[in-house]
Symmetry: C2
């Protein structure tokens, strides 16, 4: 039992203890652990310089033994009265700190592992044909995204500009995206590197923890560009993650069996343990919940995704980040994107203020939170990933140019 | 005129001066400049610690003013007799040094900008339909690759394993790729970062230089996985680059007008200057030249690629690397991949030793070199990117697994 005075049902109790990077005015960014509505300064309490680097990478690179050891220390510090005085000197009120990008992202990969999401997208984009591509149930489809534009929650999203071409347009036009969207996902953070393929059963030896991820998407740019090499500018302008990385050890009570797979996956993808995760996301638009996507239903688990990602010999680095893919459930109010919630823009959402939305408008704020079962009937919270849409920047306009082109 | 005794037609004269990272036995990796068959140690001659970091990134981040200044210094040091004694103390014979990955790669993007290559691939994969997708002449198609598996020339390529499914197979099978290929490309290295879109005309303010790039590709893995989100495991196991980065300033004499573009690109892609590059690649298989792809014919220039990559607001970091896409010319002996050279495996190449090749066999060595016009009728060489194929690793085998799967 902790001596801390934690808010009831905090979601940030001793069964959680997520890691983040914080600063207070005039101090440099360092590692902290959230407990209740406070942040414990690990540089102060541990005296270990690994927590003073401004990202979690150096600590994550130490591997699962070090992760377990620090977690045990944290629980001892927060439960034994002998440590109370010391710990209290290193606690900051959450309201007093700024939160930063928790990891230095090495490579960023995004998967596509919700069957309901993939089916919805297939029905919307390719009506009349099989909604799932033939490979979908044989492998976790994924692709690399832009690591350099992964940013922490709160970073505003400037409406991206680019080319789009409607089905009836003679030629593409350039301008701000008119179909700016969110994708509600889980993000998995690789801590321990690997030079070798990581079998499904070795998942927890390499993945440090889980955050929330919003893979902002410009559907009109994406639709025009993505054949044949996949999404590029429709995604690369910004990907937002929550500031707290929930350690895998905090999610033991959330582990569930994934849905049955048919056909049976190839042996390298067979399940060594139930790495389905009973995490329920909550998607809010301007403060109003519009969806509650259930991650427990994801067809491919994060353990299978990692096994697939590395089976060809691709190495892992500390700081590699991969997204689950948009989480959508089978119910209309469990869909993880506006593309699905408005069914390709044909069924506008009605908000509490009387307005309607198909895609995001300038000024809109999109927020994703999530909860999971914790130890002893408690719950684990993930904090939030949020962002507000700003108008397109005026750096590039259709009229900019240099007189007559050479071509 | 240099006081150095340079080999005739060296390709590494004072009009080139490419940068790389080298070490000698027992010393740490540092920045060097290749001149003839020697390497000038920049830490020694300049006394600037920026060259002792083991990558070019810190120097590249200083921007084009610093690049021009050092280039002017180098030419002065290598031409004025007063510096001869000092310089000679910091020269190493090329044979005495090890060469390392020259840059810390931030994000890696691969384009698809050779019309001949894209047409060949379209004809091979989708016979009977339009070989170019509808977007191809409107934008430089690209996608993100894996930065963490970019390696320096000489790194062996383990034959990747993965899923493949032939058109007549009932289900995918797992095993070593049977269609391992090369892609002969130019690599462009971003030096100066940017938080804003980079117009075509600002290319040289951000791109530091050019290297050679082999985008090793497993065609069977790629064919099965790439719809709808693009190539992933078919590419992510290894991308090799040459150890020398030729500064953009060395390529002034190689600049040519790109091919005419029809339809005329949107204004943000209109050409501000002729950034076509008259660089001729040479592809050797086990020492025998099998192709000479001409980069001058690329439909989209590297300046247009960079403008496209950033137009949506995607930021640039020092160390960002992007590939031109496979370079293929209009002649059969100008094709930059075995996929094209063997026309999808249907027309095997005959090698000088009497053997034939469709795709790479274990033990094969693939090497790409390149030359461009230099100042005063000379020529610029790029060194080489080479690699030998090793048998698939036995980390993962189809029979590995964990007994009956849960699914």
């Amino acid at each position: 039992m902790t001596w801390l005075d934690l808010p009831p049902d905090t979601g940030f109790g001793l069964d959680n203890l997520p890691y983040g990077i914080f600063s207070t005015p005039g101090t440099s960014a360092r590692t902290g652990v959230r407990v209740g509505d406070a942040v414990l300064d690990l540089t102060g309490i541990s005296g270990d310089d690994v927590h003073a680097t401004g990202t979690l990478n150096a600590f994550m690179a130490r591997g699962p033994g070090a992760w377990a050891e620090l977690r045990a220390d944290l629980i001892r510090w927060l439960t034994e009265d002998a440590h109370r005085g010391t710990v209290e000197r290193h606690l900051h009120r959450l309201d007093d700190v700024s939160l930063h990008l928790p990891i230095e992202v090495a490579d960023y990969v995004d998967f596509y592992s919700s069957e309901q999401h993939a089916e919805n997208v297939g029905r919307i984009f390719r009506p009349g044909s099989d909604p799932l591509p033939p490979n979908w149930k044989h492998l976790p489809i994924g692709y690399h995204g832009r690591a350099g534009t992964v940013a922490v929650s709160g970073t505003p999203v400037h409406r991206p500009q680019g080319q789009r071409k409607g089905p009836d347009d003679a030629a593409p036009v350039f301008g701000p995206s008119t179909r700016l969207d969110i994708e509600a996902e889980l993000g998995f953070v690789v801590g321990a590197p690997s030079a070798r393929p990581v079998p499904v059963g070795a998942f927890a030896e390499h993945v440090f923890g889980v955050c929330l991820l919003n893979d902002w998407s410009a559907r009109d740019l994406q639709a025009w560009e993505y054949v044949p090499l996949g999404p590029f500018l429709g995604k690369s302008f910004l990907t937002s993650i929550s500031p707290w990385v929930v350690p895998l050890a905090a999610l033991e009570a959330a582990r569930v069996s994934p849905p049955p797979r048919d056909p049976r996956p190839l042996p390298y993808l067979s399940d060594d343990g139930p790495w389905g995760l009973d995490i329920t996301l909550d998607v809010r638009l301007n403060g109003q919940t519009v969806s509650r996507p259930p991650a427990a239903g994801l067809y491919w688990t994060a353990a299978q995704q990692l096994a697939h990602l590395t089976v060809n010999g691709a190495t892992l680095r500390t700081g590699d980040l991969y997204g689950s893919g948009t989480v959508s459930g089978s119910e209309p109010d469990q869909r993880g994107s506006l593309l699905e919630l408005s069914w390709g823009g044909t069924e506008p959402l009605r908000l509490a203020d009387g307005s309607t939305r198909t895609f995001l408008e300038d000024g809109d704020e999109a927020t994703i939170t999530a909860t999971a079962p914790g130890a002893d009937g408690g719950r684990i919270c993930f904090g939030e990933v949020t962002g507000t849409v700003l108008a397109a920047r005026q750096d590039v306009s259709p009229s900019r140019g240099s007189g007559p082109g050479r071509s």
